[in-house]
């Protein structure tokens, strides 16, 4: 791995982790959309670096796809939804506790990904970042009982899995990548419509109000 490649991977991975932690710290919907755009761009940089390093034209094309979907389309969907919602509907837990949890989860991710790092190539060293994103995404989903926050958390989980895939094997086969990307975009758009329905039906996106169905 050349110095430029190592720097590109480190830059991308660092930006991914930083944006995830900031998402826990600044949970408002508007800043979430911006941070997700940055995170998507960081992932695209990572994929582009790997593609250029291996001279893999397919991977370079996938970097463009990642940029279009994860840095533009998905953040746009979330930003346009948050614009429809009244401001300040998402009180969260204290930012300090969230950051503490993020630190714990990142440590867990570094420990848990040892078998992955051992089994993958030289870019595998950054794999724990991907696993951290997955765990932090779950934290965002579980932490606040708010529909939009769960949507944001889901996107972070997905970014984390994509990071693991690109760092371990340079991504899944292209046809699978295309299918997965399409599925994820559709799920995000469906969740966005459901957030609107929850807002219209319940007068807010607080999931504590969803109490119709229980045993």
């Amino acid at each position: 791995m050349t110095g430029a490649t190592a720097q590109g991977v480190a830059l991308g991975a660092g930006a991914l982790l930083l944006t995830a932690v900031l998402l826990v710290w600044r949970p408002s919907a508007r800043s979430a959309a911006r941070l997700l755009a940055l995170q998507g761009a960081a992932l695209a940089v990572l994929v582009l670096t790997l593609g250029l390093a291996e001279g893999d034209a397919e991977l370079v094309a996938v970097a463009g796809l990642v940029l279009a979907v994860k840095a533009l389309l998905v953040p746009w969907a979330i930003a346009s939804t948050s614009a429809r919602l009244p401001a300040g509907t998402t009180p969260g837990r204290s930012p300090g506790a969230g950051l503490l949890w993020a630190a714990v989860l990142t440590t867990v991710a570094f420990v848990a990904s040892r078998p992955i790092v051992a089994a993958s190539g030289e870019t595998g060293g950054a794999v724990p970042v991907g696993l951290s994103l997955v765990l932090i995404g779950f934290l965002v989903m579980l932490g606040r009982r708010d529909a939009l926050a769960q949507l944001v958390g889901f996107v972070v989980v997905d970014n984390g899995i994509a990071t693991v895939a690109f760092l371990t094997t340079g991504g899944v086969p292209l046809v699978v990548e295309l299918g997965v990307t399409l599925d994820v975009v559709l799920v995000v758009l469906i969740l966005r419509i459901l957030v609107h329905r929850i807002q219209d039906t319940f007068g807010g996106t607080d999931l504590v109000d969803l109490q119709e169905l229980a045993d």
Binding site: A118, V157, T169, V180, L186, V187, L194
Partner: protein, 464 residues
């Protein structure tokens, strides 16, 4: 009603019929000779197992779509509803035909996408809530499964040519790095178990399956759960070869027993008959998991037959439940008392379906459940068989009591109306349901069934 809406109305039934015919044809082609058909550069294939599952999907889908054909909707709604149903059937077909595990994943996630708006179709607070839980939990579960597949892909990378092809992985299980493969397969099965409605990841299921329209509930409970479980069977086959049977046995038997326990506990005090049927699906997925965990030809053949028998019985029951709801305007068990006296054309199919589901002979579920319990005993897992049998007895008692309350209990509450006319129409509509239940009994006796199941198991073992 315009032409497009009229076409849309019959499109799901036509698709189901086509799938059933294709399933029967492909079963005939693949049975006996270990034949596998390939397409799309090796991404898609039909072996005896996928052919059999295609037959199951077709048979259950025909019951659900034909039997569940309600009154005509608004043209616009009709087109959208039917379009999503056809897409749903297509996604399940892709899941069954994919050899590449990544493509299989895309198909399973496609079922969530197609059904997201079907679950919330009726609108209202409960439907929106059910749809939200369904899509969020389903997508998270399936995301975990994808992480597992990504890691499985990485676990084969050391050999130079990473792969997600099921056939290649089965032919060369030594390609898989054991440490990483263990984590990968455990995560993938955990994720698919969410879609299969196994405890402890089942919490979305009773909400989604009780809120969805009858046709959709019938398809989701009757066959979508089994399609997700089919994915687990494929992964288990790889795991058993590469890592030995212990990992999957612990996961599946544990998840299965927990599913039976949770289902039994939540059925006892259940007041909603659609939720009752939904929990029964978690129960039956638990039986499948226990059967697969026990393993061996007897238990696995029983698992495959159980998918068909349960699918036919459960889709029939959800269709009848939809008709009862339309008649009584309530999903509460105590609002439906005395069905046998008031609405015999609803009560009889309900009783017959419930009898099949409860495992009365000659229904296939009697034989499959006995076979799974017996196989457990044979494999030295007597405690699993005993615990399962105990939980099944509890569930039998609970379901039988609720069924008796609905059909026999209480006084008549029926609204008087043009009753004879409505009853005649209802009897005519029981034809697809009767056909499904007769089939659910006949498969236990048909001599052609044994070679079909044997071929499917040969395909699952990866022997060619």
């Amino acid at each position: 009603m315009d032409l497009l809406a009229r076409l849309a109305r019959i499109a799901p039934t036509a698709t189901a019929t086509t799938l059933l015919a294709a399933g029967v044809g492909l079963v005939a082609v693949t049975t006996g000779g270990d034949r596998t058909l390939w397409a799309a550069g090796g991404l898609l294939r039909v072996d005896a197992l996928s052919a059999y599952l295609l037959l199951v999907v077709g048979a259950v889908a025909l019951t659900a779509t034909w039997g569940g054909l309600g009154p005509p909707r608004e043209p616009h709604t009709e087109v959208r509803f039917s379009g999503l149903l056809v897409l749903f059937l297509g996604a399940m077909t892709l899941t069954l035909l994919a050899d590449n595990l990544g493509v299989m994943w895309v198909g399973i996630e496609g079922t969530t996408i197609a059904t997201a708006f079907l679950v919330g179709h009726h609108g209202g607070r409960a439907a929106v809530e059910a749809a939200w839980k369904y899509v969020v939990l389903g997508s998270v579960g399936i995301a975990i499964a994808f992480l597992g597949l990504v890691l499985l892909y990485a676990a084969t990378a050391a050999t130079g040519e990473p792969t997600l092809s099921w056939r290649t992985l089965m032919a060369h299980p030594d390609l898989i790095d054991p440490g990483l493969g263990r984590l990968a397969l455990a995560l993938a099965v955990l994720g698919l178990a969410t879609k299969a409605g196994l405890a402890p990841m089942h919490s979305w299921l009773p909400d989604a399956h009780s809120q969805a329209p009858a046709q959709v509930s019938a398809l989701m409970s009757g066959v979508l759960l089994s399609v997700a479980f089919y994915g687990i069977l494929r992964l288990q086959a790889i795991s058993d070869l590469a890592l030995g049977p212990e990992l999957m046995r612990v996961m599946l038997v544990g998840g299965g027993l927990l599913s039976l326990t949770v289902a039994a506990a939540l059925m006892v005090a259940q007041r909603d008959y659609k939720r009752l049927l939904a929990y029964s699906s978690t129960e039956h997925m638990g039986i499948l998991a226990i059967g697969a965990g026990i393993g061996g030809p007897l238990a696995l053949a029983a698992v495959l037959l159980h998918m068909l028998g349960h699918g036919l019985a459960k889709s029939t029951l959800f269709v009848v439940a939809g008709r009862i709801l339309a008649d009584r305007g309530s999903t509460r068990i105590d609002h439906v008392q005395g069905l046998l006296a008031d609405r015999p054309a609803l009560a009889w199919p309900f009783l017959a379906g419930m009898g099949t589901l409860l495992g009365f002979p000659p229904g296939a579920l009697f034989f499959t459940e006995v076979a799974i319990l017996f196989a457990g005993w044979q494999q030295g897992l007597g405690w699993v068989s005993l615990t399962t049998a105990g939980l099944l007895v509890v569930i039998f008692a609970v379901l039988a009591r609720h069924t008796l309350v609905m059909t026999l209990g209480g006084g008549t509450r029926a609204a008087k109306g043009p009753r004879a006319v409505a009853e005649a129409g209802r009897w005519a509509a029981t034809l697809p349901l009767a056909a499904a239940l007769v089939a659910a009994s006949a498969v236990g006796f048909a001599p052609a069934v044994q070679p079909v199941l044997e071929s499917a198991l040969t395909a699952l073992a990866g022997v060619r």
